[in-house]
Symmetry: C2
Subunit: 451 residues, 2 copies
């Protein structure tokens, strides 16, 4: 169990789309309250993704357990005239009472595979759609990007620096969380460390150097003030000169028992700059000073820097990770699969869905790699490991969520099961997913019936 306070502040339950209330109101008044089954899945993977990492379930369960309306919110909602008074009255005691099945956070998954299934009275299952998508979409996006960064540099230290250009406060926090799940080692965002227990890391800004009249004074002052965490930013003016200053300072500080842990380079040609700085440090007997780099890094630049054998110890990842720069959105959906025992599907061009509640069965080859996922009806008996497990019943989670650290370890393990062909950053292969014959038959039968 996680020992850190989660303190997920719940945003207003009005953080949803207007149409959720319009439909809920109609369902209440029409007496359409039988069990609906919805599933969350990704329709198509982004162009440069061969797999995704599921993340965000813990926040979804927090939301489902706690979604409530305040009197003020309901008064306002009533005042819009979009929802009937009887519905407003019923919402005063609203709580989610359904069941949920999900794949564990950190699980590798592919297009069309459900990672969450919700079974609840139709109005409830509908109302929660927008926030569920909002939570699963973003963290899955970032965890998947983080996993790619980890695959690009299996042994390097990776630090997340993304808060300032994350899309708002919650993205900053959940982005740190998802990055950690995907394989980063630490975050610069203090509140993410406070809330989720993610190890923290940080250096200094250019302004610290600039606020001093001399760069050498800035370095000395920083080392004196923070002798246990001396990481100096060396590219404010002239990188070579700064590297020599670090060597001088390192020798001077050794007498005081202070060690310079690292230097950070944030601009220019990072491979060349790191090589230059490494040489200066090594010739100056500072082999133990590590080199950190930052500045618009992503899995592609990390791979290129590794291929160039740039002597870099730590990659600091910011914007490109936190906004998932090359794929800032996923084509994901939360779709009705069944209502009142009747399987349904959509036939919209390019957006057709499968019908009925489903399960994913994962099969491994003798080396432990994922051989095939079988996408089947929930009631089919199929070889393999069933990925979706029941996590909530009657609106209460069945067991505490695993600690974030263990989710991260599980994700690392998942990446080990990923076939090598799917690990590349560019060459996207067909995902190893098969649909059962029974699923295809059901889809065809439902299509016949739908009009």
């Amino acid at each position: 169990m996680n020992t850190f306070p989660h303190r997920t502040e719940q945003p207003s339950a009005l953080l949803t789309d207007l149409y959720q209330f319009t439909m809920l109101d109609a369902y209440y008044r029409l007496g359409m309250e039988q069990t609906a089954i919805f599933e969350f899945f990704v329709r198509r993977l982004p162009e440069r993704r061969s797999f995704l990492i599921a993340a965000g379930l813990e926040q979804v369960l927090d939301y489902l357990e706690n979604v409530r309306f305040t009197a003020e919110e309901l008064d306002w909602l009533g005042s819009t005239g979009r929802v009937s008074d009887t519905t407003i009255e019923r919402l005063r005691n609203f709580r989610f009472t359904g069941r949920a099945f999900a794949v564990p956070e950190g699980t590798v998954f592919f297009a069309h595979e459900p990672i969450l299934r919700v079974e609840a009275p139709l109005p409830e299952a509908q109302l929660i759609e927008s926030r569920i998508v909002n939570l699963l979409h973003y963290q899955t996006l970032v965890a998947s990007k983080a996993a790619r960064c980890r695959l690009a540099a299996p042994k390097a230290e990776l630090v997340e620096f993304g808060m300032r250009r994350a899309h708002g406060a919650e993205a900053a926090l959940l982005g740190s969380r998802a990055s950690y799940i995907g394989g980063l080692d630490a975050t610069a965002t203090l509140e993410a460390s406070h809330r989720y227990g993610i190890p923290m890391a940080g250096t200094m800004a250019h302004s610290f150097v600039q606020a001093h009249e001399l760069e050498s004074h800035a370095f000395l002052n920083f080392a004196r003030m923070h002798p246990d965490n001396v990481v100096l930013l060396i590219d404010t003016y002239d990188l070579t000169r700064a590297a020599h200053r670090v060597v001088d300072l390192a020798h001077r500080l050794r007498g005081d028992g202070i060690r310079i842990k690292g230097v950070r380079i944030d601009s220019g040609d990072l491979a060349q700059a790191a090589t230059n700085v490494r040489n200066i440090l090594d010739h100056g007997d500072c082999r133990d000073v590590r080199i950190l780099v930052s500045g618009a890094l992503d899995e592609y630049s990390i791979e290129a820097l590794q291929a160039a054998r740039a002597p870099i110890d730590v990659f600091c990842l910011g914007t490109h990770l936190t906004v998932s720069e090359d794929a800032p959105g996923l084509d994901c959906a939360y779709k009705l699969q069944q209502y009142a025992g009747r399987p349904v599907r959509k036939l919209s061009p390019w957006k057709e869905t499968w019908a009925g509640p489903r399960q994913v069965y994962r099969q491994y080859d003798p080396s432990g790699y994922i051989a095939m996922d079988i996408l089947a009806g929930e009631d089919e008996v199929i070889d393999g490991r069933a990925l979706l497990r029941e996590v909530m019943t009657d609106g209460h989670r069945l067991c505490p969520c695993p600690s974030l650290k263990s989710v991260r370890e599980y994700c690392a393990e998942q990446l080990c099961h990923l076939p090598p062909a799917l690990r590349g950053l560019e060459h996207v292969l067909q995902a190893p997913v098969k649909i059962t014959h029974k699923q295809r038959e059901l889809a065809a039968a439902v299509a016949q019936r739908m009009h």
Copy 2:
């Protein structure tokens, strides 16, 4: 003044980078508390942007007025061992006491132009960096994208549908706000309407149709339940059949005084689909039924649909707008320009900055278009309208922020002043910005001095 409750929930003041506290701690202990001047600007515009729209100032001012630490936060911060006890004690009474100068929200601006200048004791001005960037970056990104959508369809109705794939809760709300500033007409996000007074809009989901055994029953039930807002989603199964059903239903409902306001198409070739549906509606004497479209729309697809003369009345914009799909991050910075009266700059390759506090003077041609922006030292006397105005002193805002509606009107006016050549979606021209001779001299002189 805005009549809606803003209720901007302040996230924890620990929502910042670790290094802000590391530096603040050093500044306190070194007695480096003279006035620092920082500026926020965008270094380079994204590849497909010719201008940006400033947004987020109101949230920045809320933050600066309210940033405080709780005892629990400070106890935790102290427990990390990264900050001295004396600093923790000082933070118990922390408040921002500085001045701020800014361009109004909704202002058009270009690369290197400051849109916010902060003048405060160095530790304060430093600490607030991360959240200020977080707030200005995201809203500027989205307002700029929204303005492009507005320019692509000057007369169409544009509705924001982005909540579910926004990066978290705050992005959903601030994304709606920024979209409205940039020129959208309404939002589907109820809480954005509740909090900011943005007009609300909404239709129905495919699940509503699917939950009924017959599409025609779903349409009839929706119309009966919400007779004042009948907008039907017609692409769940077969678009043509659904359009004919709408015609039948429209005639049937006329007797009851119920009007079908619109139909939404969410898939397929939207130009073709809209033309097909328009024909059916017109031939069925339903000329007043409007056509809404949705599905991965952005300024480029809007422009293409307009060029194809697709009979579309309302464009519903989701993910691509809210995550600014083609440019989900801006290369922006909050940089030290002066400390203790001494102008400073950075010389890092590709990231050089100008020195000292600055002002932007905007000059117009006789037609009212922006002719040239002059980027000058704050103390230079230059022709033109000074864009930065004082908005905060001693940590208090000087006057209430304008209503969101008036910000939106101001932004629309700003777009009218944009030279036609800068309005295209693809052809990016050199921005009309000049740096004064005096600024260049200062930069050169400071570069000489910096080491």
